[in-house]
Subunit: 296 residues, 2 copies
């Protein structure tokens, strides 16, 4: 593990303007800042995309959480609201920034039934130990990692050395779910507690093995020749994120009422099933495999 | 019951652009029109708000389903996209219109757990017998009526003598739920079947008593002095649409974690609990009472 102390944590809410859980959590933290302070570091909050929130949408011009590649951040010709916002966030909180954050937490929600998911930008030792700690506190927490991650990471949590994206659901866009709000709040406190023990050099892991879900690819909706979707997520798969899907089991239901089954050979564990924001991205679900990694 | 035959039924989908169930149902009916044809009348479909659908929102400039008061339809100065769209819909399908519809079905969905709800614009005999028929086929169908309805009805289903709004949920904005899609489809066929028997003069009611839910008022979220909400729907009330709420039972949960209880005296049956589109309308839920009406 890096011996660098974490001096500042930045919590981002409203990176997507219609994901209210994070937005109202940072409002709460702004009015009660002691909740997120810990002895060895400072915690700050930032409302990432207020213009998207104002119009009740994920984004104003483009998806802010795809604006953080090094290439885009260094491109002076990108002038969308979100491109500018990304540059500002990076300038302030990124590595070498005015108020450099050593760890960022980016709060999201999803219409998929992903419970409490922590998405890691990479599998460095700090992130693995953080994940093991979180799972030891709450075994329901899922750890997700994408090996298809772009070489040049476009996500907000890539602006600092350490960070993660918190993804909670199922919750509709534009509403607050009180249970998920409280569970997300508890998860944030657990992350901050881990950072505190890390700074104090006293991390003790209950688990030696970390189980996580590794995204290998995505699956689009079946479409007709015009590109329009011609099937929905099958009722048997709806809300079944992280559950095994075996060859021959139904995956989609066409508008005519016919099943379309999963035709792969190996068992998969789909996530982001029926996420509203991914219809336009051509993603009906992300496919994962379960992986395990030894910590010591 | 009126002795007028129903010659044309118009089914509207996408009155709200992010409610996909109705949009994809009318797409299906447009490609397979025999599904909605019946011997004694014509059925047409209409995609009410394509511009809102294109931007993935409820509306483009203003809520189309509040644009149908007689006063607004006759006001030449109203120039929003939705105001113009309402005038066009009324001119084509309204009473006396080019293709007058004698019955309209307006398809909606909600983030509230309203199952299959039929909202009546008034309690005329036709609507009551239709409702009794639908409930006799599927006792899970709920009938809703608002006595606080405006004198000058702003809803799309007011353009013709007979009509209803179909409201299904819980489903997030921007996604399709296959179960609800199929249940809504079956409900539409049942409505069309009823119109057919009505035209043939052979309506036989299984039930003599119709139970329905009557909206009496709405309740807003608790707010702070700046007008910002300071509480969420209580976890115990979330998804409990149509269930009794008694005095002293929790209604909201503040961001600080404190319960706010229902302080009324009589038992109420809330609906539209935590509907995403109603945050901006200042409505956390609609309050209903159960009513019964004798049909013969």
């Amino acid at each position: 593990m890096s011996s660098n102390k974490i001096n500042r944590v930045a919590i981002f809410g409203g990176t997507h303007g219609n994901e209210l859980t994070g937005i109202y959590l940072i409002k709460k933290f702004e009015s009660l800042p002691h909740l997120i302070q810990r002895p060895s570091f400072e915690t700050v909050t930032f409302f990432a995309n207020p213009k998207a929130y104002a119009i009740g949408k994920r984004y104003y011009e483009t998806d802010l959480n795809r604006c953080f590649t090094r290439q885009d951040l260094e491109n002076p010709n990108l002038s969308t609201y979100e491109a500018q916002r990304a540059k500002e966030i990076s300038r302030i909180y990124g590595t070498g920034g005015e108020k450099q954050a050593d760890f960022v937490i980016d709060l999201h929600s999803t219409t998929s039934n992903m419970g409490l998911t922590v998405i890691l930008p990479n599998l460095n030792r700090f992130h693995l130990e953080l994940s093991a700690y979180l799972v030891s506190i709450n075994p329901e927490i899922k750890i997700l990692y994408s090996i298809t991650q772009y070489e040049d990471n476009p996500h907000l949590d890539s602006i600092s050395e350490f960070g993660c994206t918190v993804e909670v659901g199922a919750v509709a866009q534009g509403i607050l779910d009180a249970n998920l709000f409280q569970q997300t709040e508890a998860l944030i406190y657990a992350i901050l507690d881990f950072v505190e023990t890390y700074n104090q050099g006293i991390v003790n892991l209950a688990n030696n093995i970390l189980k996580f879900y590794e995204v290998t690819n995505t699956i689009d909706y079946p479409r007709n020749e015009s590109g329009e979707i011609r099937a929905m997520i099958h009722p048997g798969l709806q809300f079944q994120d992280y559950q095994p899907l075996n060859a021959g089991e139904p995956m989609f239901l066409t508008f005519l009422g016919e099943d379309i089954v999963y035709q792969g050979e190996s068992t998969i564990y789909p996530v982001f099933i029926n996420e509203a924001a991914y219809y336009e991205k051509g993603t009906a679900m992300c496919v994962t495999q379960i992986s395990e990694i030894k910590l010591r």
